[in-house]
């Protein structure tokens, strides 16, 4: 078993709200286990509402009511130290945040403080973790932007003066300037046009290659996973239903849902009609019994309705949660 830099084990994180007599429990993450290895690009795929944003939040330690962790563990192994995210001390939190673990949020449109110049935002983020004279920090910022190929005028602007793509790149610079070991990217290409998307993906790749850090990309866009990731875990209705390296996922998907996701991707020379998955993703406050995909699965069997299949290994480094895939029960 290779070392993991981040481990999620049996995580159950629900949103529990109670208002006007209505108690609602949304099972956003329901028994998820993932192991992320150092220096890899790991992808988490799934439709919107499948729980990936929640998983991300827990992994970043941003757990606030109504989000509650009911079971499971989540931890990092950095520099030989183990940190339990669910029980971080204040010192650990300060050490981890941004220096070891950082993140590029979804929809960077509004992530930068609208009343602060970009330069000041950089200063804010850096001075929390690095004590140095101002001129030195300014030099660091300028050098890093140059390294990433970003124009220096960006520093003197306010966020609303920048284009969407530029804002995204600035956010990436902000998230990586302290050279963290793990970077989480949440939908880094959504709401950007295709040309800009390429630039963003390339930027992320360059950074990862150069710094040899770990990148976790959370997106519903399978194209991004194909272009960027080494391994991918597919989430459905709060559970991991398949996990393998990218090639295996795209060439040898075992779970019907994954197969659908791959098929729905447009291909260069394939002019046949794109098939979309019938039905809608289930509401997480009242998920289907048994395998959560069974109402939409064309190959559903009676057992699928009764009991949830567990994640088991079908080939080296390839796990699936489906009764259709043979293999020993493992993990």
């Amino acid at each position: 078993m290779t070392d993991a830099i981040a481990t999620v084990q049996g995580l159950r994180a629900y949103y529990i709200t109670n208002a006007y007599g209505v108690r609602r429990t949304v099972k956003a993450v329901d028994d998820v286990s993932i192991r992320i290895r150092p220096n890899e690009i790991f992808g988490i795929a799934g439709e919107s509402g499948c729980g990936k944003s929640t998983l991300l939040r827990v992994m970043l330690g941003m757990i606030e009511p109504p989000l509650t962790v009911l079971a499971g563990t989540m931890g990092y192994t950095l520099d030989g130290r183990n940190v339990d995210v669910l029980a971080m001390t204040k010192a650990e939190r300060k050490w981890i945040r941004w220096k070891e673990v950082s993140y590029i949020p979804q929809g960077s449109m509004h992530v930068l403080n609208p009343v602060r110049k970009v330069h000041d935002t950089f200063l804010d983020f850096i001075t929390v973790h690095r004590r140095a004279p101002r001129s030195q920090i300014d030099a660091i910022i300028r050098d890093y932007l140059r390294e990433l190929g970003l124009p220096l005028q960006v520093l003197d602007s306010y966020p609303h003066q920048l284009s969407g793509g530029m804002k995204q790149r600035v956010t990436i610079a902000l998230a990586t300037i302290l050279y963290p070991k793990i970077i989480f990217a949440d939908e880094p290409t959504t709401a950007l046009d295709v040309v800009v998307q390429r630039g963003v993906i390339q930027l992320l790749k360059d950074i990862q290659e150069r710094e040899k850090n770990t990148l976790v990309v959370v997106t519903h866009d399978m194209g991004v996973h194909a272009n960027l990731c080494d391994r991918v875990a597919v989430l459905y209705a709060g559970q991991v239903i398949e996990e393998a390296n990218t090639e295996a996922i795209f060439k040898d998907a075992r779970h019907p849902y994954t197969q659908y996701l791959i098929q729905s991707l447009p291909k260069m020379d394939d002019k046949s009609e794109r098939v979309s998955i019938p039905g809608r993703p289930p509401a997480l406050d009242n998920p289907p019994t048994g395998c959560r995909f069974h109402p939409r699965c064309p190959q559903a069997m009676s057992i699928c309705r009764e009991a949830m299949p567990s994640l088991h290994t079908v080939s080296p480094d390839h796990r699936v949660a489906c009764y259709l895939a043979p293999g020993k029960d493992n993990d």
Partner: protein, 287 residues
């Protein structure tokens, strides 16, 4: 209406507000059972402090404070109610027309409303009342207040209409013809009713405040008992200096209870309507 039931059960603010208002309405209703007519003077011994016989004491004019209070609460509520009715009617019409027409007409009407939002209404109110020299009956005062309180609400209703139109068009794609009206009634009413109530309450608050302010300045019809005029007369007869607090205190406390009741109601309604709590309210059965 399930909305009211839900609110009453689960929102302490709504409960408190509703209870206060019900108490006040009861007080107002009691006026019909008063043994004294509102204009009666010297029907009871003057300046008596609260006792078992005169629950809230008596005034320098020989009136029973408690029964007088019932009249004042009733009249103040009527004035405010009239003001809200007229003002909101104008606001709904103006706001809806403006939002519906769109384009330059909308811009012109909105600009028109904007102008009236800035103009301070109390000086105008004082000017008008002064010229009428107390010949303003309390019903006319209600009318006048209503004519002055349409600008800001018209913007609110316009915004509502605009957002309703957005939803309506999405719905029209799914339903057709008559269905749209039914959809509007079924989908939008549970929102519109609390919205209108919350908006109406802000009108009540303003109207009551203005009525009291005007009366204290001696500008309204001082023979009609309202909360404001009761305060005026208590001041006139120097209830404060002579330590006859009950005459002055009763309307003050009544006014506080009324505005509090109204405001708690509107605040809890607004919270109920807040999209974030709406999400939480969606019960599982709706899926």
């Amino acid at each position: 209406m399930t909305v009211v039931r839900d609110l009453f059960k689960y929102s302490p603010a709504f409960r408190a507000g509703a209870i206060l208002l019900i108490i006040m309405l009861v007080v107002a209703a009691l006026s019909f059972f008063s043994p004294y007519a509102p204009d009666d003077r010297r029907v009871v011994p003057m300046n008596k402090p609260p006792s078992l016989q005169y629950i809230l004491g008596t005034t320098s004019l020989g009136q029973d404070v408690f029964w007088l209070l019932t009249f004042t609460v009733r009249n103040s509520l009527i004035i405010a109610g009239l003001a809200v009715l007229i003002g909101r009617t104008i606001a709904v019409i103006l706001g809806s027309v403006s939002g519906y027409l769109g384009g330059n007409a909308d811009r012109a009407l909105s600009g028109f409303a904007d102008v009236f939002i800035v103009i301070p209404r109390l000086p105008l109110l004082i000017l008008i009342s002064f010229i009428f020299k107390g010949n303003l009956t309390f019903l006319q005062l209600g009318l006048l207040l209503g004519l002055l309180d349409w600008a800001w609400p018209s913007k609110r209703y316009r915004a509502q209409l605009l957002s309703l139109r957005e939803e309506e068009f999405t719905q029209t794609a799914v339903f057709s013809g008559m269905g749209t009206l039914k959809v509007i009634l079924r989908e939008h009413l549970p929102f519109l009713i609390p919205f209108t109530l919350a908006d109406a309450v802000s009108g009540f608050l303003w109207a009551i405040g203005m009525e009291i302010t005007l009366a204290i300045l001696g500008l309204s019809d001082l023979t009609t008992p309202t909360i404001g005029t009761m305060i005026f007369w208590a001041n006139y007869y120097q209830a404060m200096l002579a330590r006859k607090f009950w005459w002055l205190g009763a309307p003050i406390v009544a006014s506080i209870l009324i505005v509090l009741g109204f405001y708690l109601l509107s605040a809890s309604l607004s919270e109920y309507l807040d999209p974030r709590t709406r999400l939480k309210r969606l019960s599982v059965a709706r899926e």
